[in-house]
């Protein structure tokens, strides 16, 4: 029994640090054996053994702790002794980890952090889409009703339509984001009001009660948190609604909505051919989105069979909610994460090199310690402790950098993001940063640790620590690392270059209108106070008059929307050309404009005339853009021809073309452009936007413009006051954001690669001082010595560039969908980044090469 117990005890000793075990393991077993022999009964032996085993369990961690303390003290001493290298390593790490952490903050906010709804995994966005198409489409109301009634895999289905609403009464009118929702939406999202109640099924019926649920922030902001808010009547748009509930401040759906009205649609108001609703559903427990999609698709087939008239071949599907709302950001965010990962790798390569150089300098220290009895695992453990310490220090500095960097990063986002997207450095981000720090310290610490601990005693001691025998192998590793750094930076630079080029292509495309010194704003006035017709027209005239007298305002126009901010797509039918079914009819963008619109925006009129005030009474006229005119009347004039807008079979009235305007881009920047057509304001349409041309910085007029309009009537809501330049920045913010980040990261990569090359060459020169001394003593000229060092540098760079170009060509192809009018293998970009990297490398190699020429042969030889 005793032998077995002692063997077991010996196994337990594995808990000790190897050093302690080697030193005392045998003694411990001997003592235990003696103690056991002394005992008379088996039970006593067992008790002695348990006592000893407990001793191991309590003492082994303490021994580990002692070793760690020792290593840490040693590591701190090493770091202090070589402060410049330490500082450089920590700075490089901080850059790598800081950038990675900042980007992970984005990833966390968009892709990882749970959405603020319970059981998010069971939420799905439901859409109707063309059978062969991937792009999501909206749902027709009657189809929603049928799907909701028939689905067995969804717990419930709800629909909503978002839009801005104007609140009036008690203070200035205010435009807030809101939504009309079906009764199912709140229960599906699983969020309950903090006050009052949500809509009931009975309320969501045509002509149902006029009730509203408002958000907590709106309640506090506009109604001062009135405890008697329930039952209070508020004016929204032209109608009065009774508040029945307040949703918690954390709840925003969709996007930034602050008030919710019941949908109250009837099938008559919304046919199977009108797709304007978004849908959301909750899966029954255990049901997957794929299963729900299969069910919805077969239900849609049924519905289409039952309604052959409106069967346009649509199918339906369920997409997990996160995928649906983050899908548009995913590719860019992942590209960015990959980019910053490259940067981190470059930082690691840099530090590995730094530590390798240090390791060879420390070969003598290692040799001495080995001679004094330190085992190899012991040395490795100590070196890994050193790099972990570096990692942690770099990680802390990196987190500090991320704290500073994230706000700077967010300041690049000019728009109000959906409320679920919050970017804060939370526990998950901190955990990530810590994990990255330790992981990187492992990556850059392992090679030097194993290299340095492989000490060949006599050689290292004899050589006086200048070069180890492992020198050749280590040189190879160092050089490969520099090649990898250059290759990685080229890849990053190529990615950044392509994004810059794509962004420039996007931003410098001809827009067809001036963007400077233009102020734009959205207007909403209550239809009950200013019904369409003369009253509205009088108000328009008043506003125009008020603003015309503002110093600096040179041109004022009204429109249905601001270009690149809101457009209205419709279909086109041209008189004398075949009538096409809705699906094949060409799409147009349709803007209602006041006279002066073209002048204010600097859009040239190629032919014909501008609208006049007289058109208000005789609105069946239109201005089309030049490309439309060229397409239909390539050889003649478009003037006098007639066109019709809207679904072809609807027999909308004909508009006569009175003018042809220059081509403009009015939808979002990267999207495909459609033809633009314009019609004049009439008794049917109210202006929703204003465009002011100014003679000074447009934003300097913003306050005055708002003030004058509100002074006319505080029931008019003025929102979205931006310069047209800002509108464009907003339209292209995502492209700009990712381009800026990519450029920053690749510049850092370039810097690190240069530092890496410089470090390796400097070290090589210092190793070769003796050789260079001999060469110079034998008559080599400074120029020859310089060329020798430069050659080494350029060889490494050349290898790196070659590998980098191959890697970049393979990787940038993955960016194709994110590039606008730019080929992922754009030769100019590739040439440019190669040249940049080459110049930087030459500069980085030049300093050590220069230093090599300053070697004094006598001094170098005397050192021996």
């Amino acid at each position: 029994m005793t032998t077995g117990l002692v063997r077991l005890y010996r196994g337990l000793l594995l808990l000790y640090p190897a050093e302690f075990r080697d030193e005392y393991g045998r003694e411990l077993c001997l003592v235990l054996l003696d103690r056991c022999r002394e005992q008379r009964s088996r039970l006593a032996v067992l008790l002695v053994w348990i006592h000893a085993a407990l001793g191991v369990l309590t003492e082994a961690p303490k021994e580990h702790y002692h070793v760690m303390l020792q290593d840490l003290r040693h590591a701190l001493r090493v770091m202090r002794n070589d402060a410049p290298v330490t500082a450089a390593a920590i700075a490089i790490l901080a850059l790598g980890i800081g950038s990675t952490t900042a980007v992970f903050t984005l990833v966390n906010g968009i892709l990882v952090r749970p959405l603020p709804y319970p059981d998010t995994d069971r939420l799905v966005a439901v859409d109707e889409h063309e059978r062969e198409s991937d792009s999501p489409g909206n749902v027709a109301f009657p189809n929603y009703q049928d799907l909701r009634a028939r689905t067995r895999l969804l717990e419930d289905l709800g629909v909503y339509s978002e839009g801005l609403r104007t609140i009036r009464g008690e203070g200035d009118a205010e435009t807030v984001p809101g939504a009309q929702i079906s009764d199912g939406v709140f229960p599906i999202l699983g969020v309950k009001p903090i006050l009052g109640r949500a809509f009931t099924r009975e309320e969501d019926v045509p002509n149902g009660p006029k009730v509203v649920v408002i958000g907590e922030e709106l309640w506090k902001r506009r109604y001062a948190g009135d405890p008697g808010i329930l039952g209070r009547t508020v004016e929204i748009g032209p109608r009065r609604f009774t508040v029945i509930g307040v949703m918690p401040a954390s709840f925003h759906f969709p996007e930034r909505a602050e008030l919710w009205l019941p949908l109250q649609l009837s099938p008559e108001q919304s046919t199977r051919a009108d797709y304007f609703l978004s849908a959301i559903g909750r899966l029954r427990p255990g049901v997957s989105a794929q299963q729900a999609t299969a069910e919805l698709a077969s239900l849609m087939k049924q519905i289409n069979r039952e309604n052959p008239k409106t069967d346009v071949g649509n199918s339906a599907r369920a997409v997990p909610i996160r995928q649906s709302i983050t899908g548009q950001y995913r590719p860019a965010v992942i590209t960015l994460l990959a980019a910053v990962g490259f940067l981190l790798l470059i930082a690691c390569a840099n530090i590995t090199n730094l530590l390798l150089i240090k390791a060879s300098v420390r070969a003598r220290e290692m040799a001495v310690r080995t001679a004094l009895g330190a085992s190899r695992p012991r040395l490795i453990r100590q070196l890994i402790t050193e790099s972990a310490l570096f990692g942690l220090a770099g990680g802390l500095a990196g987190i500090a950098l991320a704290y500073a960097g994230v706000p700077a990063l967010l300041s690049l986002i000019p728009i109000e993001l959906p409320r679920w997207m919050t970017f804060t450095i939370d526990a998950r981000v901190l955990g990530f940063a810590l994990a990255v720090s330790l992981l990187t310290s492992l990556i850059f610490g392992v090679a030097p640790a194993f290299g340095a601990s492989r000490v060949e005693l006599t050689a290292a001691l004899k050589e006086g620590g200048r070069t180890g025998t492992a020198g050749a192998r280590r040189n190879l590793l160092r050089n490969s690392l520099v090649v990898a750094e250059v290759a990685l930076s080229l890849t990053l630079l190529a990615g950044a270059g392509l994004m810059v080029r794509s962004f420039l292509a996007l931003r410098h495309q001809p827009l067809g209108f001036t963007t400077e010194k233009i102020l734009t704003l959205d207007l909403a006035w209550p239809g009950d106070l200013y019904p369409q017709g003369p009253k509205a027209r009088a108000l328009e005239a008043n506003i125009q008059h008020e603003l015309a007298s503002l110093p600096g305002a040179t041109n004022i126009a009204f429109a249905s929307g601001v270009p690149l901010a809101s457009v209205w797509g419709r279909s086109l039918t041209v008189e004398g050309f075949p009538l096409l079914p809705l699906k094949q009819a060409p799409g147009i963008f349709h803007t209602i404009v006041s006279p002066n619109y073209f002048r204010a925006l600097g859009i040239p009129l190629v032919e014909g005339r501008d609208f006049t005030d007289a058109d208000w009474d005789n609105p069946m006229v239109t201005i089309v853009d030049e490309s439309l005119a060229k397409r239909y009347w390539p050889n003649g004039s478009a003037l006098g021809k007639r066109v019709r807008y809207g679904p072809p079979e609807n027999n909308e009235p004909w508009h006569t073309i009175v003018g042809v305007a220059g081509k403009v881009r009015s939808e979002n920047l990267p999207g495909r452009n459609r033809w633009n057509v314009y019609i004049p304001f009439d008794a049917q349409h109210l202006p929703r936007a204003m465009i002011l041309r100014t003679s000074q910085d447009p934003m300097s007029l913003a306050q005055a413009v708002r003030g004058r309009i509100v002074a006319l009537d505080r029931n008019i809501a003025v929102s979205q006051i931006h310069s047209l330049q800002q509108v464009i920045d907003r339209a292209a913010w995502r492209e700009r954001f990712f381009t800026v980040l990519f450029t920053v990261f690749s510049s850092l990569a370039l810097l690190l690669a240069a530092v890496g090359l410089y470090g390796v060459l400097s070290y090589a020169v210092s190793l070769r001082t003796h050789e260079i001394g001999i060469r110079m003593a034998l008559g080599a000229s400074a120029r020859q010595v310089q060329a020798m060092v430069m050659r080494q540098g350029l060889l490494l760079t050349g290898l790196g560039l070659t590998c980098g170009i191959v890697a970049a060509l393979a990787l940038t192809r993955l960016m194709t969908t994110q590039l606008y009018h730019t080929s992922p293998s754009d030769p100019e970009t590739f040439i440019a980044v190669t040249v940049i990297l080459m110049c930087v490398s030459v500069a980085a190699a030049f300093i050590p090469a220069r230093r090599a020429t300053q070697v004094e042969p006598v001094v170098a030889l005397r050192e021996e």
Binding site: Y24, E27, L30, V31, A52, G55, V56, E59, A60
Partner: protein
Amino acid sequence: MAARPTLSRDTFHILVALADSDRHGYSIMQDVADRTSGQVKLSPSTLYSAIKRLLETGWIEELEERPDPKHDDERRRYYRITKSGRHAAIEEAERLEELLADARASGLVPKRS
């Protein structure tokens, strides 16, 4: 040197055990147990952790030669108290004595007749 490390109970017992003769680990353990009538029972782990610490501070040393050829087991390591170790143990004993004297003076502990 930095502030003198305070002596833990185990350390003190080991120094006392080594005060009259050089001993190997098991012998230290037995001596401590005998002197305290079995009240202080060191486990092998606590014993050797303490020995390691004592070796590091230089209060004990490991012997190269075996002191007691009769009972010698060549596999065992023997330890001897050093001058500084003896000094530390004496200081500790004096400290304990003073403490006891204080306790007696205050009447907490009955005076020895």
